[in-house]
Amino acid sequence: MADVLLEGRDLTKHYPITKGLLQRIVGWVRAVDGISFTIERGKTLSLVGESGAGKTTTAKAVLLQEKLTSGTIFFEGKDLSHFSPSQLKTEYRPRLGSVQQNPWSSMDPRMKVRDIIAEPLVVNTKQTKQQIRSRVPELLEQVGLSAEHAENYPHEFSGGQRQRIAVARAMALNPSLVVLDEPVSALDVSIRAQIMNLLKDLQEQYNLSYLVIAHNLATVRYMSHTVAIMYLGQIMEYGEAEELFERPLHPYTKALISASLLTLPEDEDKGVKKIILSGEMPSPLNPPSGCRFHTRCTEAVPECGQTIPPLRDVGGGHKVACNKA
């Protein structure tokens, strides 16, 4: 039996659009529309999709930065909606860490690295200054920096080093789950590998769970155990990373993989063609009827515009929401 750390069930987040002086609600942006997933202990779940797919909203819901419209989050089997605010503060939040995409905007430029890393400890624990002070060098060494770096300011570091500082801050409370929102996409190619390797090492060492948000499929394949492909607020395909990349079933997954594959000139000689989708992702304000992807799908049949395909299991936990697959 898999050891589930966090489970999201039918998560939905709709943002109201208001108009006029009375703030009348004239519509809803369906950012996340009924998604379910599980994150196992020591494993990585990646949410993949293009901008507007609802990945970040989902992550924010897990971090309690957004209130869900409906749906439940279970943490270690316990329903979070039954937690009181003080329980959330002491029993849930300290178990989470978070690393943002851009290491240039995720840190206060006026704070020393020592204070940046210590902040979660100051806020969430009753440790003495002495205890906190001794923890900072440990954390820095964990992420491949040295203790002397504690006295510097963020601007004195390169992008890769800053992202290491951000990881150290996320690790400060010994979390069980770390939310990584595009952790390497702002970094240079040669630095990305360093950070991805670091994250994998930390995961192994501390049995961490990761919720990764990414749009780069190659990064996702390298980092993840489980993958959810999202489109317009819904999960199109869900499964183990290897299975999903080797045997993609949903036309959207296939198109994404095709767009991200390296096609060399000799592949083109052999007649390998990329799947080029027409058009763009429709607005989540007014999503298409039926399958949300049918307007761009290369394999759509008239039925797809009418019935919403359920996310069904095709064996071994590989789930797909498509009428045809």
Partner: protein, 322 residues
Amino acid sequence: MNKVLLRVEGLRTFFFTRKGVVKAVDGVSFYVREGETFGLVGESACGKTVTALSILRLLPEPAGQIVGGKIILDGTNLLELHKNEMRKYRGKVISMILQDPMTSLNPVYTVGDQIAESVRLHQGLHDEKVEEEVISALRLLKIPSPEVIMRDYPFQLSGGMRQRAVGAIAMSCHPRLLIADEPTTALDATIQAQYIALFKDIQKKTNVAIMFITHDFGVVANMCHRVGVMYAGKIIETATTREIFKAPKHPYTSALMNSVPRLDQKGERLYSIKGQPPSLRDLPPGCRFFPRCPVAEDICHQQEPSEVEISQGHFVSCWRVK
């Protein structure tokens, strides 16, 4: 084979700052043929964009100065042109697409107005003719219902459409050389694939030479005919795309390729290049990649390697390659 349109020889562009001289581009040579896409690949701050700005002579003066080399476009050395003559080239013979369409479009003018600006300036046409040209530029970029879109403001368009509008401005005067600086980096994967397919198509139709700046080898494989790999202000390897993927010769090129996860391979541990690129103010003696190079020898930190042609059109600057 098509004739060479642009030839850059020994280009050196320095920035003179209070803290010292930044050697952003330090002896860069390459050429681009008509109807060909030449990729310039490298990490941030390796001098890709400064090379492009030097060709357009759009450096922030007086700090940025071209201190040496030649930029020859169809027999004319652009560096010898007077400012006013250069202005006739910019936007007409050579045009440029920047990374972020949100900052390269003016938010208070319609897309049509912004395309019309360069058409009016460079082609001296009258209003009706201008509109025809604007619509044909939008058509070339496969923008649906151009008559409607031309009256839209940038904020009314999606990211992909905005980048197409930028492309329409660049192509509106039928340039012979297009410099594209990371045009697909801000776009989503499926939109990126659309954009690249579109430009390959445009190149077939117009025979425009494209200089494509990117950090993404995936884009290179898909789009470019030949590639130059830049590191700390120098091109360290130039070859055809086929050759560079099959047999990269410079340790930096292969290290960079190995450090990128591949979607079609189940990777165990990624190779990572230790350290960071050197400061361009304070370059190491000898080979610039020496401090990070896994196969460096004694000579590498004493003397800078010169460029050797190891096979037809494949140039490498490395002591280990003979």
